[in-house]
């Protein structure tokens, strides 16, 4: 569960940073208070995400060791990129608070932040996509999904911040971009889920134990009370529950926020859409968390073939 929170919260924070950095580079005038509050919210989300990632470890005190194997491990690379990204966002926020405009603040740091942000999405997604025998994950769509869901949720939050901060002129274009990426994220996620539902597992019980005779069934997994293998890789939920969470994830994660963006997109420049946008952020957060949980639940690990029956 801590990984679900870590990846979604970090994704939202990354999306907000991308929105502010790209606006800065594109020459869009953002009010100083919007930039400061946006970066502060994003920094807070990233720090909570970092905390959640520590909760996932059995030995958090040794976490510093995880930077060692960056040559081979995507997890190690993520452990390097995440703090670097947080540091750059913090520095950028500090310069907005205490320094005058300049090329370092307005060109260099946004560029570095964008590079690290994309790098972080890439590392996080590759942690899953590089495991070749978890066929649900081992696909470029995993990278596309992580990036687009981060952009969508980050832009929805950024649009809400624009409205709440009183940057009325920005609300409509921000909502437009948010809607664009939310629709894109929904399409990519639905394509990935549909692909995963149709996947035929390469491993079978026959290849798992190397016996060709059919039918073949397990009679005992070798223990009665369960083990790490039965707890870690199986969610134990019914097919009906999985189907329900899938509809909730798509509905609350993409469809509802897209609808709630419409008042901001269609309405005038008044402060009206603020409430709708805040609701969009809350509903989407629940939906994206459910979607990330489903991402893990949908993975059928080949090791499960060995753990089917107790007695």
């Amino acid at each position: 569960m801590s990984v679900v929170f870590f990846t979604t919260l970090a994704g939202v924070g990354q999306g907000v940073v991308m929105a502010i950095a790209l606006s800065a580079l594109a020459g869009v005038t953002l009010s100083a208070s919007l930039v400061v509050s946006g970066l502060a919210v994003s920094l807070t989300l990233l720090l909570i995400a970092l905390g959640a990632s520590f909760l996932h470890l059995g030995r958090p005190g040794r976490a510093w060791r995880a930077v060692m194997m960056w040559r081979t491990s995507w997890l190690s690379r993520e452990v390097i990129v995440l703090p670097a990204f947080i540091a750059v966002v913090a520095l950028w926020l500090g310069m907005h608070l205490w320094q005058e405009p300049g090329p370092l603040r307005d060109i260099v740091l946004p560029l570095v932040a964008i590079a690290l942000c994309i790098g972080l999405w890439y590392c996080t997604a590759m942690i899953y996509a590089c495991i070749r025998f978890i066929q649900e994950w081992a696909h470029p769509l995993t990278l596309v999904n992580y990036t687009l869901i981060g952009l969508s949720s980050g832009l929805v939050l950024f649009t809400a911040l624009c409205a709440l901060n009183g940057d009325a002129a920005l609300v409509r274009p921000a909502a437009g971009w948010a809607l664009f990426f939310t629709v894109l994220a929904a399409v990519a996620r639905i394509v990935a889920i549909a692909r995963n539902v149709r996947l035929k597992p390469k491993s079978t019980l026959h290849s798992a134990i190397g016996v060709k005779t059919a039918p073949l069934r397990q009679k005992s997994m070798g223990m009665t009370g369960g083990s790490f293998n039965t707890r870690e890789f199986m969610h134990g939920k019914t097919i009906a529950f999985l189907s329900g969470i899938r509809y909730f994830a798509i509905g609350a994660g993409f469809v509802a926020p897209a609808m709630l963006l419409l008042p901001a997109l269609l309405g005038g420049g008044e402060t009206g859409p603020g409430g709708w946008l805040l609701l969009a952020v809350l509903v989407q957060s629940a939906g994206v968390l459910a979607d990330r949980w489903y991402f893990f639940a949908q993975a059928r690990h080949p090791q499960n073939l060995y753990y089917q029956i107790v007695s």
């Binding site: 059995g58 060791r65 491993s203 009679k219 997994m221 083990s227 790490f228 060995y306």
Partner: protein, 219 residues
Amino acid sequence: MAQTYAKQLALVIDLNVCVGCHACVTSCKQWNTSGSAGPLSDQDPYGETPSGTFFNRVQTYEAGVFPATETVHFPKSCLHCEDPPCVPVCPTGASYKRKEDGIVLVDYDKCIACKYCAWACPYGAREIDEERQVMTKCTLCVDRIYDESIPVAERRPACVTACPTNARLFGDVKDPQSEVSVAIRERGGYALMPEWQTRPANQYLPRSITETIAAVQAE
């Protein structure tokens, strides 16, 4: 593809004679819970939901249609793959494959228990120790097979010594004259889940009766 080493220690398991007695399971637990690397903890061992850390499990399968059914007892432990997917994913370097004999080991002092290696093993060979919070797995009794203070005949993994039917062979699969190499070559030794190209060092000898039934089915 990872490099392979000149020497690769491994187990070869003869499914013809395994009777599913679990002596390899208990002897493994006894030896490895008593070593200097720390105990293999149990949770609620005498309660309703007993659980614990084991390096080796014996499972049972049934193949075929009655009356032509076959019971297959199937011991499963780390296969010490020649291209182990669990090793490169480890962020700390705690998981490694020894150059001198190909054994895949975990350095318990470096493990942060992120469980990534367990997700990267298709065989479910790794189990976390819930009490020590480190990832554990079969070591091929690395603290025993090189111990010069015990008789040469006992310098084998505990499971091999314990097996009452000699279903477990141990040796260097890169030495063509070794007992394990001869067994693999002459008795059709095979690897588990070859579809993932992990090249397991441990191999299994097929049950000849089950093979016969499969051949008849195929005709």
